[in-house]
Symmetry: C2
Subunit: 279 residues, 2 copies
């Protein structure tokens, strides 16, 4: 496995790499969710490139950029273990040196839910992913469905800008008790950790209700809210039941493919989770 720090080194290696080339973009703090993407890329591609970059432009001023967990040595070991060929680990200066003036911005889908709660977040994501795609020029890029809205935002700008990359969404990986894997789970103390299970329990309850024929959006959202509101340390940012394509909230009966998603804070730690359902 080769670790490169500069765009020019990455491009030189990329130019000589055998196709298909698969990219797994990460902010490090790797867990089995990320590694499931690496393994999927390893199965499907001749060359697997991982990236390791905590992107400052997708964090808000009061968010956890500075304390975001970083352990490069561990991350590189995990990338290598699961068969990564090249890791691109640039500095902030390498990625944003000079005075960048350009942003990839999205309306619509990027303005709801996470976009409403974290202004500028998806512009930061879209811009850095566009840069990574232009630097690495992968044939395929792998992202987790845990970040459901991010995946839709990426598919949207890839389509709108005609970027020649196939975006592959991979299932959320969970702990045995249901908690979705997240780099931010390390922040949780024991009480938070126990109460955080209400997110996946809520998703499970709503999924079961939908399977039993419940169609009313507010009733389904209420099942999730009841689970989470029963946790004294949980502060809900949102619980959403939205159209899978547009992420517009349902009123009345749900139809077609829907995304049930939420963001909940436990102390300073903000967790998200979601499930895609077909009604």
């Amino acid at each position: 496995m080769q670790v490169v720090r500069t765009i020019s080194e990455l491009r030189a290696l990329r130019g000589a790499a055998a196709p298909l080339v698969g990219l797994v973009p990460t902010m490090g703090a790797l867990h089995d969710g990320h590694l499931s993407l690496v393994r999927r890329a390893r199965e499907e591609c001749e060359t697997v490139i991982g990236s390791l970059f905590v992107n400052p432009t997708q964090f808000g001023p009061n968010e956890d950029f500075s304390r975001y967990p970083r352990d490069e040595e561990r991350d590189l070991g995990l990338f290598e273990r699961d068969g990564t060929d090249i890791v691109f680990a640039p500095s902030v200066d390498e990625m944003y040196g000079g005075t960048p003036a350009t942003t990839v911005t999205l309306g619509g889908i990027a303005e709801r839910l996470e976009g409403a709660k974290r202004p500028g977040h998806f512009d930061g994501v879209a811009t850095v992913v566009t840069k990574l795609f232009n630097i690495v020029q992968p044939d395929r890029a792998y992202f987790g469905q845990k970040d459901a809205q991010q995946l839709r935002v990426i598919r949207t700008f890839v389509r709108d800008l005609d970027i020649p990359v196939e975006v592959v969404g991979c299932p959320t990986v969970r702990e045995p008790d249901g908690l979705a894997l997240s780099s931010r789970n390390v922040y949780l103390d024991d009480d938070h950790r126990a109460q955080a299970l209400s997110l996946s329990r809520g998703l499970d309850r709503a999924t079961a209700a939908l399977e039993d024929g419940v169609r009313d959006a507010e009733t389904l959202r209420r099942l999730v809210l009841d689970e989470i509101e029963a946790q004294p340390l949980a502060e809900i940012d949102y619980v959403s039941l939205a159209d899978s394509g547009s992420l517009e909230e349902f009123e009345g009966d749900v139809t077609g493919e829907v995304v049930l998603s939420m963001a909940v804070r436990f102390g300073a730690t903000r967790l998200i989770d979601n499930v895609t359902l077909t009604s």
Copy 2:
């Protein structure tokens, strides 16, 4: 020469094209300025691709999108005459079908001069050129220096987004009497045409003064303004003397590489011109 209308056809041809691949993006209404780009690409590249697309998103609501001159048959003949291999001539629906949500936006350099007078113009340019670059994936792309600010905007987002395309700027082509070639020159009646020569005369006077040692920015701008203000049909949008890199206006003495540029309306026709000087 092959003419293709769809992104998928273009990609199929591009995949089989010999490198280097040169792209000459145009809105049609070709004149010798455009064709100088085609000939330059023909000299430097194995495969020359021209594009022909009047991009609606770079026109303001009160601008000349609907009446912009269109004569595809003539344009295709000229592309072919000067050695173009492939012309990409998509419909608006092919380029912007569905409901696109994504824009490539620039601050700074894109907000001054043309950007101030034509809000949204450079977002439209940056977005469509990004799309063309992603569709064609050229090694080099050729643009005229007549659109001085556009060239800087394109260099800026190509750098900021790490787009792997070499941007080549080519000299403005002029009529024997000095008028810069422009697709919009066809709108000019005889009086406008005669008075429009004040733009290049103004540039010449300021160039000569700078060569004679005049350094004061306001004095140099005044020389240009005097030429143009002497034309009864001319309405000046701006006359600018700015730093070549940032396009920030000079106050006091100019230093380094500077761009002298202007936009002037004659009736409904808006002309631009510029020269880059080293003080």
